[in-house]
Amino acid sequence: MKVGVIVFPGSNCDRDMYHVLTDVFKLDAEYFWHDKGLPKNIDAVILPGGFSYGDRLRSGAIAAHSPIIKDVKKMAEKGIPILGVCNGFQILVEAGLLPGALLKNTSLNFMCKWTSLIVENNKTPFTNKLKLHQKIPIPIANGEGRYYVDNETLKKLKKKNQIVFRYSEVVNGSSDRIAGVCNEDGNVVGMMPHPERAAESEINPIDNKPSSLIFESLLNTIGVKS
């Protein structure tokens, strides 16, 4: 079982994600630079946060056209677990793998703060060890983190159980307080908050267990598979 961590020019949470996957959860992980393809033996893919291409044009817009995204799309179709965090989520949205858009926060500022999430779907490869409606203390750090969908899409998301996380409070003006969504099949998940910044007790001032369950869910999913 191997997790691919994709690195774009300007990614800056790749090393944090790699540390948590390997040092904390003892998963086998490997970095993949954006301009190549992904090998076949990858069991899960993570797109970490950062400022790919310096957020030029729109967050995630340029990275979504990287060569490696073609392989990410193929893997998404095959049902392989894919997680986009922060800029990774923005890239998945720009690549058309997830619905909606991410707009500037209502404060118009970059926001770095601890908040909490509520688990709305615990059937995905990244949430299957969490309880439904469980609270997750977790930090956000973004300027364009306001998730937006039109009403029709929102209805569809609810119907198909595609809302994975909601904020427990109004944080940035996201539609229906949505913090994370998945595709219809549930294998592609995107979230704005940073689980890799909350999974260790040393850096989580509140409780690191809920966030570690995100990684344990992945371990559970791909561990069973191999």
């Binding site: 020019p9 300007g10 400022f51 310096g54 926001m111 940073h194 001032p205």
Partner: protein
């Protein structure tokens, strides 16, 4: 852009001929105050710079400290005052970029940014508000994009910064000792310019920064591009891992002129370069412009022919340009050509070493009666006054600022911004605490004691986390040094810092001097900024939630030292009085005692007592932990004082300790054995912050109301005016 007449004579006699126009530009940049430190260099030598943990190498722009187990930290501080006063967004952002490249130059990965910001009175002055808002956004956009957490700093407002801005940026790097770049070069090595293209931005920036700010010179301000900087960081660290770099220097003030001459001078080599090989943003730039452009995100690297191909491959991977612009010679000359034509050919030691000055100094006349107090208007309602005080820009929470900075990226930040000092975890299991502090109000009244106070306050802040101070950074910001009165304040501050550093054996590992901080309305107050690095071997003090029944103990004496206090200046609009003075012995006793008590695991939290005095420090604890407290003012140790002086005096060496009642006896046993003054002065409980005298409240605030005001007032002021 030119040299002073006597400097021109000096140059002519040193090279034995009339300089060319390019030579004049190169020398004017390098001999500017900003690059040459010609006014300050002679005196800076007094600071202790050696210590058991200090590693010194040739040609470093940052200080290096050994933190054990084969790891080092690097640290540096810079300012970008003049550019930020004209174009706050770009000025502040490129300030971050510059100091980050200094950290990178040593071969270490930048892991933290700190920034100290100072502006005019934002309550009244709309321009100050505009400068403040945009400088914060500039720092946020740059640091966030790089993925380097901004974990601390300070923000202060004072009328002396009207129409001006002080933007100080410090950065910390971390790496393996064996990966440090040991700068070296030999004849035939290649000189490579890597990164952003050279354009017409920032031309003459260092001379611009070496004069009073009278007119806005926008072309002297650099344009930021954090995306390229991020690519440079990753490319250089990859090149470092492959051992491709012989020597490296950031391009900062003075651009290529300084980077080339200083590298050559530090390594005792010559460099021959061709301006036509420099990748430029515009096609028609002349050699003079290319040599002094301060375009950002550029690094000068010395490598050799065998390693060049690998370096080029790395640059290709990151899509950054690298140009071979010249090679190393053995003649100790800086030879600048355009094609085959020589534009400049100067001895590197002449370029890199301006004639140092010994400027006259004289005690300023204003200091004669400054310690005299005037009669103050009595305060009728201290509770009402206190609410106004905690909403004032200098006292209010700075969450609006640090909430815009990614302070978590890198997942090292174990103690978050907001209280005394942030703490980072290091790969060897140790922890690093760091803080920067300044206090121009104290320094104006007494430049020596004020500077020492900044030093002690920064130490106190790291001590509150359980860290022992191991290194200091100083950034000395003053007005025009040609004015003997201003130069006197510079010397006094420097002497004070030197005395404190020697007494505590804290080496100065890096620093910067910024002079000519003046506008037509006058000079700034003396503003030395001190950064302290503290090391924690085992665990930092993780603040635990204060609950009902917990005890409040103060260590240190509260003295009649009101000069430069926020209370005098903000509430009474009075500048004067006696500023707080650090008693070195008392300071050391209290510092060691607090570290000892933290190690014994007796405390829930420790908070430094500084700006706004006990009143503000206790209120901060209450507002942060959402709990009330009853404080008995008559129990506060020190000479007998009026209540307002006990509440608002900013005496140094004081710490507030919070602990569970069951640990009180053990704590008192430890304190009794020491020479420190201490007393239990309060108990946490309920929903009100009360400061009592003879059981009657002098101040009585509801915690929730106070907290809301304290957290929101700065944002309200900036966003809604």
């Amino acid at each position: 852009m030119s040299l002073e007449p006597q400097e021109l004579d000096d140059l002519t006699s040193k090279i034995g001929r009339k300089p060319t126009s390019t030579e004049l530009q190169i020398v004017a940049a390098e001999w500017s105050e900003h690059c040459s430190y010609k006014s300050s260099k002679k005196h800076l030598k007094m600071l202790p710079m050696k210590g058991p943990l200090v590693i010194s190498e040739k040609g470093y722009d940052s200080g290096v400290l050994d933190v054990g187990d084969g790891y080092v930290i690097t640290a540096h501080i810079e300012s970008h005052n003049h550019p930020s006063a004209v174009e706050p967004y770009g000025g502040a952002a490129t300030g971050v970029g510059g100091v980050i490249r200094d950290i990178l130059s040593a071969g270490t990965r930048p892991i933290a940014i700190f920034d100290g910001l100072r502006f005019g009175d934002i309550e009244k002055d709309l321009q100050a508000r505009w400068l403040f808002k945009n400088a914060v956004t500039g720092i946020a956009d740059y640091g966030n994009c790089l993925g380097i957490p901004t974990i601390g700093g300070e923000v202060e407002f004072d009328e002396c910064y009207s129409n001006y801005a002080l933007v100080d940026v410090a950065a910390i790097g971390f790496g393996k000792k064996k990966n440090l770049i040991k700068n070296h070069a030999k004849k035939g090595d290649l000189v490579v310019l890597l990164g952003g293209s050279t354009g017409r931005d920032g031309i003459g920036g260092s001379q611009f920064a070496s004069d009073s700010l009278e007119s806005e010179n926008r072309s002297a301000v650099q344009i930021p591009d954090p995306f390229i900087e991020k690519l440079i960081i990753e490319a250089i660290l990859e090149a470092r891992n492959q051992n491709l770099i012989h020597a490296m220097k950031d391009l900062g003030g003075g651009g290529l002129s300084c980077a080339v001459s200083e590298t050559a001078d530090a390594l005792s080599i010559g460099i021959e370069m061709d301006v036509d090989k420099v990748h430029t943003r515009e096609s028609d730039m002349n050699p003079d412009e290319i040599m002094v452009s301060e375009s950002q995100e550029r690094m000068l690297i010395v490598t050799n022919n065998d390693k060049l191909k690998k370096l080029q491959e790395i640059c290709k991977k990151f899509r950054i340009t690298c140009s071979v612009i010249g090679h190393v010679t053995s003649d100790n000359m800086m030879h600048v050509k355009k094609g085959t034509k020589t534009c400049a050919n100067l001895p590197t030691d002449v370029v890199a070493n301006a004639t140092l000055l010994d400027r006259p100094s004289k005690k300023p006349a204003y200091l004669k009666n400054i310690e005299q107090e005037k009669k103050l208007k009595p305060i009728l309602d201290y509770s009402k006054m206190m609410m106004k005080f905690i909403s004032s820009p200098n006292i209010a929470s700075k969450i609006w600022v640090y909430g815009q900075y990614d302070h978590e990226v890198g997942i090292r930040t174990v103690v978050k911004p907001g209280m005394d000092s942030s703490v980072l975890r290091l790969d060897n299991g140790k922890f690093l605490a760091a803080k920067i502090d300044g206090n121009p109000k104290h320094c104006y009244i007494n430049p020596r004691e004020g500077a020492i106070g900044c030093f002690e306050e920064a130490c106190r802040n790291v001590v509150c986390t359980g860290a022992k101070p191991i290194g200091m950074l100083d950034h000395l910001q003053f007005g025009n040094p040609e004015n003997p009165e201003i130069f006197w304040t510079f010397l006094e501050s420097l002497k004070g810092l030197t005395d404190f550093a020697k007494y505590f054996e804290i080496p100065c590992v890096g620093g910067k001097v910024s002079l000519y901080n003046e506008t037509p309305s006058g000079p700034i107050k003396p503003t030395p900024i001190i950064g302290i690095l503290g090391l924690i071997d085992k665990t930092p003090l993780y603040s635990k939630k204060i609950t009902a029944g917990d005890c409040l103990v103060i260590i240190g004496e509260t003295k009649n030292e009101m000069g430069g206090s926020e209370y005098f200046e903000y509430i009474h609009k009075f500048i004067g009085g006696k500023c707080p003075v650090v008693n070195f012995q008392e300071s050391k006793t209290n510092m060691n005692l607090v570290l000892d008590v933290i190690q014994k695991n007796l405390l829930k939290t420790v908070h430094d007592c500084s700006k706004g005095g006990i009143a503000v420090a206790v209120s901060e604890l209450c507002m942060t932990h959402e709990i009330g407290c009853d404080v008995s003012l008559e129990k506060v140790p020190g000479p007998k004082l009026d209540v307002d002086r006990i509440l608002f005096s900013e005496s140094h060496s004081r710490y507030l300790l919070v602990l569970e009642k069951k640990n009180l006896k053990k704590l008192e046993e430890l304190l009794k054995k020491s020479k420190a003054s201490y007393k239990m002065i309060g108990v946490f409980d309920g929903e009100n912050i009360r400061f009592n005298k003879e059981n009657k409240p002098v101040i009585d605030l509801r915690v929730d109301k106070a907290q809301k005001t304290w957290l929101n007032s700065l944002r309200e002021l900036v966003v809604h005016g």
